[in-house]
Every structure is written in structure tokens, then in C-alpha cells.
Symmetry: C2
Amino acid sequence: MSIQPGPIRLSVTDLHESVDDPALTSMTLLNELAGRYPEAVSFSAGRPFEGFYDVEDLSRHLRTFRSHLEDEKGLSAEQVRRTFFQYGRTKGFIHELIARQLEIDEGFTVDPESIVVTTGCQEAMVLLLRALVRDTRDVILAATPNYVGFIGAARVAGAPLRCVREHEGGIDLEDLERQIGAARREGLRPRACYVVPDFANPSGASMSLADRIALLELARREQILVIEDNPYTLFRSGGSPLPMLKALDEQHQVIHLGSFAKSAFAGARVGYVIADQPVTPAGASCADPVLLADHLAKLKSMVTLNTSTVAQAVIGGYLIENGCSLKRATAREAEVYRRNLAAMLDGLRSVFAPVPGLPQDVSWNTPQGGMFVVVTLPFPADDDMLEYSASRFGVLWTPMHHFYGGTAGFHQARLSFSVLTPEQIALGVERLGELVQDQRVKQLVEVAHA
Amino acid sequence: MSIQPGPIRLSVTDLHESVDDPALTSMTLLNELAGRYPEAVSFSAGRPFEGFYDVEDLSRHLRTFRSHLEDEKGLSAEQVRRTFFQYGRTKGFIHELIARQLEIDEGFTVDPESIVVTTGCQEAMVLLLRALVRDTRDVILAATPNYVGFIGAARVAGAPLRCVREHEGGIDLEDLERQIGAARREGLRPRACYVVPDFANPSGASMSLADRIALLELARREQILVIEDNPYTLFRSGGSPLPMLKALDEQHQVIHLGSFAKSAFAGARVGYVIADQPVTPAGASCADPVLLADHLAKLKSMVTLNTSTVAQAVIGGYLIENGCSLKRATAREAEVYRRNLAAMLDGLRSVFAPVPGLPQDVSWNTPQGGMFVVVTLPFPADDDMLEYSASRFGVLWTPMHHFYGGTAGFHQARLSFSVLTPEQIALGVERLGELVQDQRVKQLVEVAHA
């Protein structure tokens, strides 16, 4: 009698390695920690402010978009129904509204045909990275610390990342040039460089106008593409607005990623990519080049087909109701973030004020906008310290080393202030001060015992 | 003076090979053909019937789902707002409603925690295939002809497919065993087999109960997973309902893919995967196994994050309004498809009635449900013939060889009848008859000239 085999045994080592990626696993851990300490002030939640959301708005946005299709676009009842319910154009149907928004808010024009509406900016990253990595020689450069969503997209798309240093003024162009050269000497093919020019997540860094121009020059010289992700540009607190890289792009060097997560709402999962690069067909074909956008759309048809029609319609209605200006649409949120950034910087200055005779062992950057400040601490800011901070002092933050792939940032924490009140921010910074005081005392005791 | 480099040159040969996949490129071609001959009767459109859609339903579904959150789930106003607007649970928030639907309609129970709500069934396929292919030894088996979306998902996920023969009764189990053995002898690791048990797209084939049981036995013996995709089971025209593979699955062998594209609406892009397989952690860890669903959710967090909240809410409301029964929700559509299948088979029997003394050179299958019939023609049914058929006779169909990866089906056409009226179907079959007559005459002339 033969032995009946039991149920199939699956081990995580049988699955694609991206399911066990340390960066992503850490993020799961951080979320779990937030759940375990609900009373803690959380500087770790990077999600947008939710005080102005109203569920009733969703139906109004749908009605607005329906009217737009009927009145402005002149669609028949059958065409309207089809737009809302059927499989649709893979590149999406709110591309013209997006082009109008960029013209109104950012002052540059794009061909709507070069826009692919995606299931959040996350899908845009996956499609783009999948497209750009043909074989094992292809590498993508990225200013580091990295947005964790970009790291995830690279893992799942199988795109190797090569880190480029970042300073207060964004990507370090000398290091970029060095990394491109080093990659080429190793026989690799650097394809593109990912940057967040304004108030980057997690660092809060922003690029100067001169550096934006220099980056495009460098990319042209080196024949690499620039991937621009710029969701925080709407939330400037100080300084003059600077042009997006795409606005400076005269030679189709820049692939621009767009998101409605920080303006309309994150749950919609609507984003886009502008990919106006001409791509020549294979072989000696005399066929015309097609837009990179159309190749990305082919990949999209294999990943999610069209972006959810109802989600697109809601975002379309939101844009129309705000005259296609996200600056106008997000004026209230921008005010909240400005107020909170000021509260955060005030709190840090007050709690960590210099004490004559003692070394200034806590420092922080002063971003001119966005949702994040980075603080440098006189002790390792790792997951264990975070748990200690949450359980003993009731304050959560995000260890920066996760955004460096565990290679740097060991003494740094990202402080996010988007969903808090100024009072919560003040309380959280006070608690952070208590943690620092606790660690200073411990260090003194250790030194005394040594 | 140095020469200024020009704009970056991109060739399709610099991009990932999936952007140039022949199966997907053909589908683009077919869509384009449908656009060029709008007056033709199209048996090529596989999209669902759209006669019962009403844009007003969307807002009602949203209201229904909101009431469900408030009244049945007891969520606070803030929690409701967060559910609709914020980043949410990666596995989705309509998993309990989906579990209830499967219990009501299909009579089996699943742990809602084993369900991942995805951006259409397409994303579920991509996540699953990405997870199951660890290295170059892993292969996925699939009953062929294949659903084109599955081919696409495999291409973009980098999962090698190995074809298994299919007959009128679905997957050929002897060939499956043979293919598993052959793959193993080549040093490969067959991981799973993909099947559509009821009224498959494109073949219309259905598996018997005996074969369903035998497939699970074979899979257990061979220690492979079964991937069940079963969107057409709702649309049975004759015969007795058969249990889904997942309903017969006692040992977590079956990964079930679900879709709302053929029930609620395709544009929503809401589907799901049930993956209740325990996965043991790496190393000698004594940690508990986690569900495969949770690993798929990690991949999902890198591809699209959560499925669109507004799309999930619309589908949630649709389910609630129909007492969580898709059979009840789709009763009208099912009636249309039954009527149309009958019209299609009547038309074929009448137009291609046997003529005494002449060979019966046109044949077709008689599916007991679904949206597709396959006809075998006495001439090559390729893209050129399709264009000829559209331009001369005003009838479009889909060459079956696309679903075989160009290895078989050269004389077959898929006839889809989901969006047509019985009158259009009758007219289309008549025109198909004229094409066949035209080709018969051409062949006679050729023989006479030879």
C-alpha cells in the first residue's frame, strides 16, 4: 500500500524573494507597533491629513464627472455608461484633465497621449521599472534615503537599485556622476535616476534651481533618463516655488510620476506617469516611433488593465470642481501642513534648546515644506529603541536606516506631522525630549561604570 | 568644442521583452480592427453585456456600503471617513462580504483572512505568479488554449508557462501528468496548474465532476498547487451546477481567483485571490506559518497598495444590495447569455446545415454556458483572413491561434456573443456563412487551376 502524500508544504524559501524583503517587512513591523501603542503620539504615520474628507463628496464628484462627459465631451448616454462600467482605454480617461492641471498649476504643457493613468503612483513605478530593465546589466540610480514605495517597486519589478548620496539640497550630483561611471566600469548600464525634487520623503530635502538644471545637463551628457516624483510640491511653507524637472525638460529626458494620494485622497489609488519619450521599433523597420507611454500601457494591460473607472471618475470630478487646480483644491491642507511644520520646528527648538556648557547633541533639518523633518539623535534610532520609545515615553517615529537599506541613518528618525494637531506635535516632541534625556543619563551611567 | 549630445535614444530592444509580446500585440491589433470596421458584427468583443448598467447605481452602492459600515459594522464617523479615503488594509475591506457570497452561491466556507482583494483578477494573477516563481527552475502549467490575461500576467511576472492539452471536457489529465514528468526530467519544478473549470475563455470547455476530483488527486500526488479561475460559472445554460474546485478542496491545494468583472462591472477593477495555504517561515524558526494570502499582500503593497477604496465600496454595496448573492445579482445577465448562446447555436446549425453529398467542413462545440463558442473552419483563420472577413463580409471574430501561443488552433475562431442581440448574432453567422462559401469557391477554383 502506498503512503498517501499529505497536503502540499510551502516554505517562504519557495516563494519569490521580494515577499521577504527587509525594507517591506520593517514597514509591516512599524504599522504593527502603531497598533500596539494607540495612545502614543505617532510621528511615524506618513498619511495625508483627513480632517476635510466628506463621504458625500464622492457622489458629487461622480455627478460632476458625468456632467462633464455629457455636456463638455458630448458623449451619448451609451458612451457615458460604457465609460463608467466597461473595460476601458488602458491609458485612462482623465488624461486631458491631468494635462490641464499641470498647465494651470505648474505652467508646462504635455501631450495628453503621453500620460498613462495608473493604479496609484505605485503602479506607475512598477511599470516603469519593469520596462527599463531589459537584462541583468540594467541598473537604476536613486537618491538615497529612498521613498520606501520606490524600493518596493524596484524589488517586485526585479530592478537593481544603486544608491546616490543626498544632502540638504537633494541629490549629490558629483556622487551621481561617480556612480554612473562606476556602474559603467562594472559593465552595467545605468538607465535612469530617481529623484524627488521638493521636500522629499523621507529626508525633506529640496533641490535648487541650479541643481535641477545641472541634473538635466548631466543626464543628457550621460544619456540617462530622469525619473521625477514630486507629490509634495503643493505643500510649500517658505521660499519661492521652483519649476518641476518636467517643466525644464526640453528633450524628453524626464519621466514624470504623478499622484493624487496627497491631494484628492490616497484610497482612490489614482496616479499617472508622463512618458513622452519616442521609442524606435525593433529591427530596420521604417515604422514610426511610438511613445514610451504606449509601451507602459502594454505592461499595464498585463498588470491591472485600465485604472478603476469609478476611481478615475471621482478624481476627474474633484479636478473639475476645483478648476483643474490642485493648488486651489489643497489650499486648506497646505495651511495645515504649514502650521504643523512650524509647530514641529518650534517644538524642536524649544525642547532641544542649546544649554551653555553642554554639547548640542540633537540636530534636525528645516525643510521649506512637505510632511517630514529628520532629527539626528545621540544614540542609535533603531527598531528596539523605537519600541522602547513607544512603551516608555509614548512617542513613535520612523528609524531612518530603513530608507537607506540599512547602510546609513542609524542615528536618525523621520518625524511626520501630517495627521497631528499642533498640540499633539508639542506633546510628542516633549516626549522625544524625555527619551533623549533618558538615553543621556544611561550613557553617563555607562561611562561612569566603564 | 565638444559635440553636444542629442536627446536620449530609446529603442524597443532596450525595454523589457514583455512590452513586445506577440500575444498582447495581436490583441491590440484586433481592437484596432474593430475600430476600423464599426459596422461589422463583432464576435470578437469578450466584454460583458452592458444593457442593465445605470450610472445612478454607483452612488446608491456607495450609500449602501456606508450604511453597512455605520450600522452593521458599528464604525464611527471618523472610521468610516478613513475607510473611504485613506490608505487602507492591503488585503482589502470587502473580504467578509466575499466570503459570505461564496458560502451563499457556492456552498463553501473560507477564512476571510485568506482573501486578498485585488485590482481586478489580473493583479491577483500577477501577484500569484510572481510569488510562485522563485528561480529559473520554477514553471507553471496551464490548460491551453489560454486566457490571454493569464498569458500576459505570466509574461510580466516572468513566469514560464508550460502548456497542457485541453479537450471538450477541460484539461487533459493524462497530458498534465506527462507534462509534470517531462518538466521534472528537465530539472524543472512544476509549481501549479491553471484551469478554468466552467465554460472556459476561449474554448468554452467544462470539466466533469469526476475530472475535478481526479485533478485534485493528481495535484496532491504530484505536490503541485491548482489555480482555479472561474468567472463564467454564473452563466450556465444547461446541465447541473458542479462544485468549484475550491469547494472540493480539503487540503489547501487550490488557490482560487475571483472576479467581479463579469458580475458587477469590469471597469471597477475589483477581484480577489483566496490563498489559504500555510507557508512556513525560513530557517529553523519556530514562528507560526503565515497564510500565502499574507505573502501575496506583501507583494501587493509593492504593486498597487490597497485596492481602490471607492471601487471596493461600490462592489461592497452591490453585494449587500443583492443579499451577497451574485447568482441573484446577475440573473438578468445570465438570461441574456442563455438566450444568446441558443441563438448562436441555432444560427450555426441553420447556416452550416449538412448538405447531402457534401462533406461537413464546418464544426463547432456546444458549451453549456459562458460567453464563447469555438468554430472550426475549412481554411486558416488567421489575422489576414480576419481582415478579409471584416472588410468583405462585415463580421469579426478572434483567431484561436492567439490563445495557443501560435502553436495550434490555426483553423479555429472564437465567437463571442455577450454584447449582441439574437438578431445581430443571426446576421453575423449568416455573414460567416458567406465567408465560408467564398473560401470554398476559392478552393475549388484553385483545385481546378492546379
